[in-house]
């Protein structure tokens, strides 16, 4: 691995579904000699793209797990993470962004900025990841890269600046004009591997001159040298422009826009040049960690190899040689045989095999230095753990993980499936923090939870294929929540005298709605409840949160304050105060106007114009709220918020209403209170289930 970090790039490729991320990655690997034959995502040969290594991925033509790979270009090392486009797998995107230094945002030249691009953009903002944009599919009919660049401005607020112009669009797309070098590039050969540099076609010269001036004008903001050169009317060198663009990009003040068609092998190589020229190296990015020995003060990490090691486990996978842990090293260097500490639980371990990934194939390495991405075998840990040298105790800031919104009961078909199922679930939950599983004690069913129907469907399918565990699935269920809407006081005494030592404890205070999940405030003065019993009180209250008294859904958004109480010198115990807290919770909860909340999804439908009205109608029939609809060429986009419970089976309904021409994406937006009539229905259903069980 290259130790000169200036020549290292850790990048991700993200976008909306079907914008061609995997196709682009495939081309990049081909041009960088990592693979010697291009296989299409949905190619007729049935091989599928190299990056889609899972059988299921190749079959469906979607990327589920983000694959990591690396390549070399112009003496630079590029580590690439190909991320899934479907929102159900958004945690994969989220995890990748945490460890990347830059992103290539791929946009379709016809559809432009789509809903997932918006989600990815928000994630990029959260992790402050600089990006360059690649407007793909310029060979498609209706291609309009200038429009897409405008949308980047209007919809995402990027300062997007076109760095290239297309030579021909749609079926006449031949190449690109580079506005920095003022040259035209054509791509010849079977796979576009021969770049032919020519003069700009005469008919495009004026347009190119104007575009170049606009571009230089815009990027001059990011370089005083360039501004001086313009004012003093000196020759503007390529280097001056490139430095300005690089400054602007790394500070996230501008997004240079490149274009081409990965599928038609056009202009991928200039994009690779741009990755090197404009995206940051690990040295350009400031990474922070929390020093746990110093009250969690934040410390800046240095990409130096001599410093103590700090690395993040961002993804786990079960390979044939045990658990494979993907890591990004931020400081120091991980060598084979080193001893590291997992800062979450303080456990020490020895580094065994270190590898660098190329999709599902591996290459053994001796060390992974700071700034690089790699993987190690045989370390027992969870995703998001920080590994450090034994001399320090740092923790990298945790990633943003969402709670699952949908659940499904699964029942193994036979005994063999039962054993395999638990193996599979064990692995999936370790790999994917948004996938959870538990056993419902009342029914004895195994419940799996995730971010959407497709998310769970994929896991059920993987269970069958990879583990031979066939399961019957129940109906998908929505993860309802309970919460309170007003403040209520409690004053509860728990007293039991049944011979021998009795139980006594009194707690008083109030509960109120809260933005956070659960908060406990202790305002007891004068030792009315001795300090040693306070944690027991907290535990008592917290224990009630798992199953709400109203309809047995988890309770969220409650703040409990205790300000009074009483104890007995002999009869009080932790147990007694726990019970008192439970009683107090129930007492106040009933008075605090509890309500049921349901997950609301952001649903975006893209449909041909003629079906726009009926698509909006479909949303209306599902208790949905339409936020707006926009016609873009022949397609309309309808944005809405719909309760998840009304979205089951929506894809079938949408297909039949639009002759299969519309598609939709759905992602979790927020929790909202359920209307009274629906709450009654839920209560009725819950009651029926209970009687059935009996």
């Amino acid at each position: 691995m290259i130790r000169d970090l200036k020549r290292v790039r850790n990048i991700g490729i993200s976008a909306h579904i079907d914008s061609g991320k995997t196709t682009l990655t495939e081309r990049i690997l081909f041009y960088t000699d990592k693979i010697h034959k291009i296989n299409e995502v949905r190619g007729k040969d049935g091989v599928g793209a190299v990056m889609d290594s899972m059988e299921l991925e190749r079959e469906r033509g979607i990327t589920i797990a983000s694959a990591a790979t690396y390549c070399e270009w112009n003496t630079h090392n590029i580590n690439i993470i190909d991320t899934p486009g479907h929102v159900d797998f958004t945690v994969e995107v989220e995890r990748s962004l945490r460890v990347l230094d830059g992103v290539v945002l791929v946009l379709c030249s016809v559809s432009g900025v789509q809903s997932q691009s918006i989600t990815v953009d928000q994630q990029m903002k959260r992790y402050k990841v600089p990006c360059i944009a690649f407007v793909n599919k310029c060979d498609r009919s209706g291609a309009n890269p200038a429009k897409v660049s405008r949308q980047l401005r209007d919809k995402l607020g990027h300062n997007s600046i076109l760095m290239q112009l297309p030579i021909g669009l749609e079926d006449k797309h031949e190449g690109v004009v580079d506005l920095v070098a003022m040259k035209a590039y054509y791509f010849e050969g079977d796979n576009g591997e021969n770049i032919v540099t020519k003069d700009i076609p005469a008919e495009m010269m004026d347009e190119a001159q104007t575009a170049r001036e606009e571009m230089i004008d815009a990027v001059s903001l990011f370089s005083d040298d360039l501004t001086d050169a313009i004012l003093e009317e000196k020759i503007i060198t390529e280097e001056l422009i490139m430095t300005a663009v690089r400054n602007g990009t790394i500070t996230r003040q501008m997004t240079p826009v490149f274009l081409g068609s990965a599928y038609k092998n056009k202009a991928v190589q200039p994009l690779l040049n741009a990755v090197i020229s404009y995206l940051p190296s690990p040295l350009d990015i400031e990474n922070e960690a929390l020093d746990m020995d110093n009250n969690g003060e934040s410390v800046i990490l240095e990409s130096s190899f001599d410093k103590p090691t700090v690395a993040l486990a961002f993804k786990l996978e079960d390979g044939q040689y045990g658990q494979l842990t993907y890591i990004r090293v931020y400081q120091g260097c991980i060598n084979k045989g080193d001893t590291l500490v997992n800062s979450r639980d303080g456990r020490k371990f020895r580094v065994g095999r270190l590898i660098r990934m190329h999709s599902s194939q591996t290459e053994d390495v001796e060390a992974i230095p700071a700034g690089h991405i790699g993987a190690m075998f045989g370390v027992d840990c969870a995703s998001g753990d920080t590994f450090v040298s034994p001399t320090i105790n740092y923790s990298l800031i945790a990633m943003h993980i969402m709670e699952p919104v949908i659940s499904l009961s699964i029942v193994p078909k036979d005994n063999k499936a039962q054993i395999n199922m638990s193996k599979a679930l064990n692995r999936f939950t370790k790999e994917d923090p948004t996938f959870k599983t538990y056993v419902d004690h009342e029914t004895g069913d195994t419940i799996i939870q995730g971010m959407g129907e497709l998310h769970l469907e994929v896991y059920v399918e993987r269970m069958k294929r990879e583990y031979g565990a066939e399961v019957d699935t129940g109906k998908p269920r929505v993860a309802y929540r309970e919460t309170i809407t007003k403040k209520a006081v409690f004053n509860y005494t728990h007293k039991k005298q049944t011979g021998g030592a009795g139980q006594y404890g009194r707690v008083a205070g109030f509960m109120e709605p809260n933005d956070e999940e659960f908060e406990f405030v202790n305002k007891i003065t004068g030792g009315r409840i001795p300090t040693q019993y306070i944690p027991a009180c907290k535990q008592g209250f917290e224990g009630c949160m798992a199953k709400g008294p109203k309809l047995e859904f988890p309770v969220t958004g409650i703040k409990i304050t205790i300000d009074d109480g009483a104890f007995h010198a002999v009869d009080s115990s932790e147990m007694a105060f726990k019970s008192a807290a439970r009683g107090a919770f129930l007492e106040a909860y009933a008075k605090a106007k509890p309500v049921i909340k349901e997950p609301i999804m952001k649903v975006v439908i893209e449909t041909p114009n003629e079906f726009q009205g009926s698509c909006m109608g479909l949303i209306n029939q599902r208790r949905g709220i339409i936020q707006g609809s926009q016609e873009e060429g022949v397609m309309s986009v309808v944005e809405s918020q719909v309760p998840l419970s009304d979205m089951f089976g929506f894809s079938t309904v949408l297909r039949s209403a639009t002759q299969g021409k519309a598609q939709f994406t759905m992602e979790f937006s927020t929790y909202k209170q359920v209307p009274q009539s629906i709450a009654e229905e839920i209560a009725k259903r819950k009651l029926e289930e209970k009687t059935q069980k009996k």
């Binding site: 109608g617 479909l618 609809s629 016609e631």
Partner: protein, 231 residues
């Protein structure tokens, strides 16, 4: 309470009157380009939202983001006009009433009342309250729009939805015999209400052209906020 205060401050309640707003079929806000037709239409829609009614805003020349921005701005102006309001309260109210607004942006060439009809029908099917008012902004009245207007009259009849239009006039054009701009004159029978906005000095004057007996009343508006200027 806040809702009532906001409605009373609205330029619409002072000029046209809230109760009067939805009586009839069509209404028009006329002016030359850039005077404030859309802003006034948005104020009309806001009074409906504040009265807990649903509205449908159709724009033929602006993107959905722009429409949403206009509503945000108009609401902010309205809130600012009543002095101090608890910002959290104002935001919560906006989040509430904003749910009743649906903005649709169409290309003028593909604008088709059938699509709106499909959509409105779905309200009936799902047994939901229909939007009370529809705003159609950007329809070109210099062209022959009688076909579209007939179709919209049917919608008005079937779904009892009052429709407000923006109507662009031109500086050089003369008024008709009745004193109407020619764009309105051609369809005057269909329109029950019409209000003209014209720049006067550094203000905008709103003149009621047609509204039962209440005609030729004049009001001064602040061009930046569209709020009534008390004189």
């Amino acid at each position: 309470m806040l809702k009532k205060d906001l409605i009373s401050k609205s330029p619409v309640s002072k000029t046209i009157g809230i109760e009067n707003l939805k009586q009839g079929r069509f209404g028009a806000v006329l002016s030359r380009a850039g005077v404030g037709k859309t802003s006034f239409l948005v104020q009309i829609a806001l009074t409906q939202l504040l009265s807990d009614k649903k509205i449908l805003h159709i724009s033929l020349d602006e993107s959905i983001e722009k429409i949403n921005l206009r509503y945000n701005d108009a609401y902010t102006n309205l809130v600012d006009s009543i002095g101090y309001v608890d910002p959290q309260k104002a935001v919560r109210l906006w989040e509430d009433i904003n749910l009743n607004k649906v903005g649709i942006s169409y290309n003028e060439s593909t604008f088709d009342t059938e699509k709106i009809k499909d959509y409105l029908k779905s309200f009936k099917k799902a047994d939901l309250a229909l939007p009370s008012t529809m705003i159609i902004d950007g329809l070109n009245f210099d062209k022959d729009v009688s076909g579209i207007l007939t179709e919209l009259e049917d919608l008005n009849h079937e779904f009892s939805i009052f429709i407000w239009f923006s109507m662009k006039t031109h500086r050089e054009e003369k008024l008709s015999q009745d004193g109407y701009p020619i764009q309105l004159d051609a369809h005057k029978e269909s329109f029950d209400k019409a209000i003209v906005l014209q720049p006067i000095e550094d203000k905008i004057e709103a003149v009621i052209l047609k509204d039962g007996d209440k005609t030729d009343q004049r009001y001064r508006l602040d061009p930046a906020t569209m709020m009534i200027v008390e004189e």
